[in-house]
Symmetry: C2
Subunit: 204 residues, 2 copies
């Protein structure tokens, strides 16, 4: 059931190096391909990286970019990164057997929005296949565009490592705002009536 995939999916930051069958990767890409897009332009491309040297290059450039990003982050974000144990070391970029680098055609209407729907489809399919992933965007994606020979007008938007998880995350590590705090009736600030049964969904 799709709601269970959504509920159980966690962002995985530690991977086993063990290979993932290529068919599973292809299924994940196929899911991304099926996403709707602005004017049906399907503005996404997926670069599946398994070359170890190239993964190393991607990691190097991402860590460089993130060092700057972490340094310039506002205090609340610095604290969050610390609490989560997220450092500028991106070992998952070399440990995961595959990286799916997702790029989009910046000239297509709603290209970024469409590409992120496509990414959402892929992370759900990965969960369905029992494979871990993460939507990781380095602080600067510019160096990757050239490294991956992207055509003009295409930009990297995210890297999805694909691999079997080497960590088990408890659900309570992801506290969530209850529906009553984010869903409103006709205007912001007005609660949905009981007929929506929305209080049933107020859980973490």
């Amino acid at each position: 059931m799709v709601m269970n995939l959504m509920r159980n999916r966690r962002s995985i930051r530690v991977y086993r190096t063990e290979p993932v069958p290529g068919e599973k990767v292809a299924k994940i890409l196929e899911a991304g391909r099926l996403a709707p897009s602005g004017a049906n332009r399907q503005p996404w491309v997926y670069i599946v990286v398994d070359d170890e040297a190239l993964k190393g290059e991607i990691r190097k450039r991402s860590e460089e970019a993130d060092s700057l990003f972490h340094k310039e982050a506002p205090d609340w974000l610095k604290n969050w990164l610390k609490e989560e144990g997220i450092t500028t070391t991106k070992q998952f970029l070399t440990d995961a057997p595959f990286l799916v680098v997702v790029a989009g055609n910046t000239k297509a209407p709603y290209w970024l929005e469409s590409t992120w729907i496509s990414i959402a489809y892929m992370i759900l399919l990965a969960e369905n296949e029992g494979v871990g992933t993460l939507t990781y965007t380095p602080g600067n994606t510019e160096p990757l565009n050239k490294l991956l020979n992207l055509p003009k007008d295409y930009e990297v938007v995210a890297i999805l490592p694909i691999g079997f998880p080497a960590e088990t995350l408890p659900p309570e590590k992801r506290p969530r705002r209850p529906l009553a705090q984010i869903a409103f009736h006709n205007r912001h600030g007005i609660n949905l009536p009981q007929s929506f049964g929305s209080n049933l969904h107020v859980r973490r």
Copy 2:
């Protein structure tokens, strides 16, 4: 199976006015709530609109914005809109029993990207519930921010009409680029090897 939801989901532009049970709407919102987000900020809010006058206002402002948008569209987009029969008349905004207006906190990191993952989750859950929807963004969302009393820093990103479809769309109305055209190996332009079985997925 989640891939079937992805494969069968179509953007619905014609709706029956018949009510959708509130519980189904709540389930759709619950799916959106479960999306991952940048630094777990969950930057989205959902305004469920069923007030007929307010739906009329939203339609009026969207049609005004789209008149300008269609006029200024490049030729290829004008042609696409014509082929698809998409005009500036947005009857679905008043016919659909519910509009879920999705807005995001523009100060959160990756707020737009995160909010679109949340939208992707909602459209798949709608498909799972047998309810039609569409990710519609008017050419200018600015007038809606005030109309819906959004807090400072929040912006409307899309309107999802929620209703039972009054049209049945054949799959071939959505031609798709084959996987071989969008998925590459290590660098753009290099085909994935057979071991990915990706040719199996080359279908519309």
